[in-house]
Structures are given as C-alpha cells and as structure tokens.
C-alpha cells in the first residue's frame, strides 16, 4: 500500500477528522450540558469574564422536574413512539407486499406502477399539507393519532417498497420454485420462504422508516392541536416557548429526552440503518 509520512497523516487525516467530529457532535454536547445547567449559570452573557459555558459546574435536575410538571412530555414521548411504530408497521406490510409483487410477479402495468411509486417517494410533505389537512379533517381523523399513523406511510411506503423490491430481486427464484413444487401456494411461498430470507432487508427498511417517522414535523404540527395529542417535536416547539420567552433549560432537556430513544434504537441497528440509508438511493 501507499506509505505516508507521519506528519502528513496528522495534517491530512487526524486533524480534519477531529474537526469533523467536533463539528458533528458539539451541538449534542451543548444540548446535554445545557439541559442540566441551573438558570444562573445558563444565563451568563458571553462577555462575562468568569463565564465557563463549556462545562456545567452545578448540575441540576430542575429542568427535568419543570418539564415533567408543566408539560405533558411523557405523553408526547408515548405518542411519538406509538405513531412511529404503527406507521412503520403499516408501511412495512404494504412495502413487503408491493415490493414482492413488483419484483416477482408478471402483470401488465408493473413497470408503470414501479415508476409511479418511485415518483411518490420524491413528493415532499410540504407540497401537499394544505389540502391534506382538509382531507384528514373530513375523514374525522383530525387530532387523533390515526391522522399521522395513516399519513406517515405516504412517505414510508414508497421507500420500503423500493428498498425491499431491490432486496427481493437478489433472492434466487429457485427457492420459491422448490417450495411451489412441494405444494406451497404462491402466497404461502412468499410468506414462508421469501419473507424470512429477507429479514435483514425488512429490518433495514423498518429502522429507517422508524427514524423518519420520529423526525416528521409539519404533518404533526398541522394535524394535532390539543396538547395531549402532540408528538415530541411539535410539543417542544409549541409548549416550551411561551410568548417570546424561550425556556432554554427545559427546551434542551426536552430536546435531549426526545433524541435519546431514537438514538438508542439507532445504536442497536447501526449496520441495518446504514444499509437502509445507502439502499434508499440505489435504483
């Protein structure tokens, strides 16, 4: 391999890498130490000589207590989790079925449908939110979790279908053919032979869909109005800024607690997530 001098490695590798790491992680560090910082330390102006903003000298749980007492934070967390799980579940089932049909079955219009689903994949939420709010209201779904459980799949199903279609295509056809010779129906072969083999792909799609649901904002902002129906991002935005006043300690505590669950889920499935991410852009 190519041999490098030591100083070169420092200049061209360690130094930029360190800058990237600091740039990437500093906001989270800042979020975390702010969440545990008492107000008198928090509001020290930038010019104050003895201000030491990079470390919290007297960590406190006052913001945690405040958040729990004054807001419905645990409810938001629960809502976000339930909505993300159900939306992911619906999208996975639809995506597995549709992906299998597009990958394996011959029928007229399959190419057209594949392209159509790919196009819906690229439709952003901000294009349709105004009429969608009316549709959700007309279906009596407004301010219920179902409003989000049914609309989040609009951006998850295309992704799951696309990813799983690619995955199914890599599974040898012979597997199904053997099962069919042994008397399995098409549907049975799909459920009992193909789906189990595709579990890594299904996990990738699922974990990616879960993080996308957790992150969604504009639909939740528009469809959910009462405080006990909100998701974490919407609750934090709408309930922790009162008038013009930002409760920074509680805001950062809320942001931290809203980030931790998704970060934990992610940390368990990093490899699957990366597969989902890189697969999401492959044709």
């Amino acid at each position: 391999m190519l041999i490098e001098r030591k100083w070169k490695k420092w200049v061209f590798f360690y130094l930029p890498m360190a800058v990237f790491i600091v740039f990437t992680l500093f906001p989270f560090y800042w979020m975390a130490i702010t969440a545990f910082r008492p107000d008198n330390e928090l509001y020290a102006t930038w010019r104050q000589p003895n201000a030491a903003p990079l470390w919290t000298l007297h960590p406190t749980l006052e913001h945690f207590v405040g958040l729990m007492k004054t807001t419905a934070f645990p409810t938001w967390l629960w809502n976000t989790m339930a909505i993300a799980l159900v939306a992911t579940g619906i999208s996975l089932v639809c995506g597995m079925f549709a992906g299998y049909a597009l990958a394996r079955l011959k029928f007229r219009g399959s190419e057209f449908l594949g392209t159509a689903i790919f196009i819906t994949y690229l439709v952003p939420q901000t294009l349709l939110f105004i009429p969608l709010a009316d549709i959700v209201r007309d279906l009596q779904l407004g301010n219920t979790p179902w409003a989000l459980m049914l609309t989040y799949p609009t951006f998850l199903i295309p992704f799951c279908t696309w990813l799983l279609m690619g995955y199914f295509k890599t599974i040898p056809k012979e597997l199904e053919e053997c099962a069919r010779i042994d008397g399995a129906t098409r549907f049975g072969a799909m459920v009992r032979i193909i789906f189990p083999v595709a579990i890594p792909g299904i996990l990738s799609a699922g974990i990616f869909a879960f993080t996308l649901s957790w992150n969604e904002f504009i639909y939740a902002l528009i469809f959910m109005s009462s405080a006990d129906q909100k998701t974490v991002p919407v609750g934090v935005v709408s309930e922790l800024i009162r008038g013009d006043i930002f409760f920074w300690g509680q805001l950062m505590m809320g942001a931290l607690l809203g980030s931790v669950p998704v970060a934990i889920v992610y940390s368990f499935f990093v490899e699957y997530y990366v597969t989902g991410l890189t697969g999401s852009v492959k044709g």
């Binding site: 199903i157 098409r186 549907f187 990093v270």
Partner: protein, 314 residues
C-alpha cells in the same frame, strides 16, 4: 344430532370451497399482484394523489378557512409572482438549496474519503457521524438556535475569548448572517447522508485502481479526480437529487431557527406557504405557493428517472 352433523359438514365443505377458490384465484399472478399492491396503492392514492389534485383545484380558487370560495383562474399565481415576499422566498430557496448542496457534497465527500481509511474506533466514529441525520431536526435546530443566541451564544464566547472578535457576531439577528447560518445548520444535518452514501460507493472501488494510478505517478489529488470521482459519479448524482429535493422543500429547520425572519430574509417557499395557508387561513393562495415548488421538483425527478432508465438499458 345426525342432522346437526350433516349441516356442520356442509358448512365445513362450503368453507373449504371458499378457501380453495381464494387460493386458486391467488395462484394467478395478476390477481395476486393486484391483491398485494392494493393496500399500499390505496394509501398513496388517498393521501398523495388525491391531495395533489385537490391542491391543483385549491390553487385555482379563493378558498379560505370556513369559506369554500369560487373559481378565480390563475389569480393566485399571478398574485404570488407580484408578491415581493414570495419573490424573496423563492430566491432564498434557490440560494439555500444551492449553497447547502455544494457544502454537503464537498464536506460529505471529504468525510467519506477520511472514513474510507482504516483507523481505530472506525465503527463508533462512523456511527456517531450519522447522529445529526438521525436526531429529529426540530430538536437539533433548537440546540443550534441556542448556540446562535444573541446574548448567550457559546460561539461568540469562544471567538471573543480566543481573541478573534471584539464585538459579538449577529448570527440570526441580521438578514445576511441568518441565511448563512441556516445553510450551515442544513449542511451539518445533511452532510452525514452524503458521507455515508458516498462511503458505500467508495468501498466498491477496487484499491488496485489506485495502486495502478499511483505507480503511474499520479498524486493523491489526481487519483481523486481521475479515478475516484468518475467512478463515484452515479452515486453522487443520485445523492444530490435526493438532497436537492429535501432542501428545496425544507420547512422545519427554518421554522425553528428563524421562523423566516428577520424581515423575511430566510423565508423559504414552504415556510411562506405555511404562513399564508395555515397562519392566515388563505388555503387557495397557500396551495398555489406550495405548487411553485412543483416544476423544480419535477425537473429534478425527471433527470433522475431518465438516468435510472439509462442505467437499466446499459
């Protein structure tokens, strides 16, 4: 007793016939395909195709909250084109998308090249690099807003005590600065997506090619431009398309960071459409504003589809 049994048998047989008829039906590829596609397609039709048609209709009427309005032709669109704030929002959107994409591509590529080397703790570094992309944007945008705070900014503190500045930087309170701050935060959030996807592309490039080029006397810079870049171009194009769509239609980052201010200097099409459509309840005008995104997104998707077709054909 015997009659009851006979009836049960009959019932059972009818059930069997029904089941076998269903299974036989599902043995036909067409029928099975239709059944498998139905649930997903139904959701996409109800919640994407139908609202899209409705958005087109809304944009041609004077509908507002509590008033169905009437047909007004293209009035909403001409009004938008003459609206100074919308002109500003459109320019902002192009500016934001252009610069954020450039930075994400450049930094993401650099990061991918760094991550492609072998070093200690590589897995954990790579995993943590993706955090900005995983953590809900609204929540991390708040952290950034707090870092940009006019009075308590940690960045002003660091620059001041580092002797780089003598007066505070305005960050989000000045129009020019605020837009660049938004570009910075968007870059921070989107860079990992570029890096990790490009890294996956890099890993498919054989090291032999680099060694051969190195033996021919190419330095690292030349090797990048003549070996890595051309081989990575297909992945790069797809990632850029995805990122352009996401950035062009962005809403949440601006909503939290600046709310479109100061003085509309950071309004994007989506945030302005939200303000008009949801804030003021002018649904028709809001729908028209959103639809201004459509031609641009359509062009990008079209390029992408053509590209995919070409890949399939050869």
């Amino acid at each position: 007793m015997g009659r009851g049994r006979a009836r049960q048998d009959l019932h059972l047989r009818a059930e069997q016939v029904r089941v076998s008829r269903l299974t036989r039906l599902l043995e036909s590829e067409k029928a099975l395909a239709a059944a498998l596609l139905a649930p997903g397609v139904a959701i996409l039709v109800i919640f994407i195709a139908y609202p899209f048609v409705m958005a087109l209709w809304y944009s041609l009427t004077s509908i507002r909250v509590g008033d169905p309005g009437h047909f007004v032709g293209l009035d909403n669109f001409t009004k938008a084109l003459n609206d100074l704030i919308f002109q500003q929002a459109f320019k902002n959107t192009v500016f934001y998308t252009f610069w954020a994409t450039i930075f994400k591509l450049a930094l993401g590529m650099w990061l991918a090249l760094l991550l492609n080397r072998s070093f200690r703790f590589k897995r954990i570094v790579r995993a943590s690099m993706l955090l900005p992309f995983i953590i809900p944007t609204v929540l991390s945008a708040f952290a950034w807003r707090w870092m940009f705070d006019p009075t308590f900014s940690v960045m002003n503190w660091a620059l001041y005590h580092g002797g780089i500045i003598t007066d505070r930087l305005p960050f989000l309170s000045s129009g020019d600065w605020a837009m660049w701050c938004a570009v910075l935060v968007n870059t921070w959030r989107g860079m990992p997506f570029f890096a990790i996807t490009l890294l996956a592309g890099l890993q498919t490039i054989s090291p032999d090619l680099h060694e051969a080029a190195a033996l021919d006397g190419a330095n690292a810079w030349h090797r990048f431009w003549n070996v890595t870049w051309p081989l990575l171009l297909p992945v790069t194009l797809v990632v850029v398309v995805f990122s352009v769509i996401q950035t062009f239609s962005d809403f949440q980052l601006i909503y939290v960071l600046t709310g479109g201010g100061p003085a509309n200097s950071t309004h994007l099409i989506a945030t302005y459409a939200y303000q008009i459509g949801v804030g003021s309840g002018l649904l028709g005008e809001g729908a028209a504003l959103s639809l201004f995104m459509f031609p641009v997104l359509f062009a990008v998707v079209w390029v992408q589809l053509r590209y995919l077709k070409r890949m399939e054909n050869g």
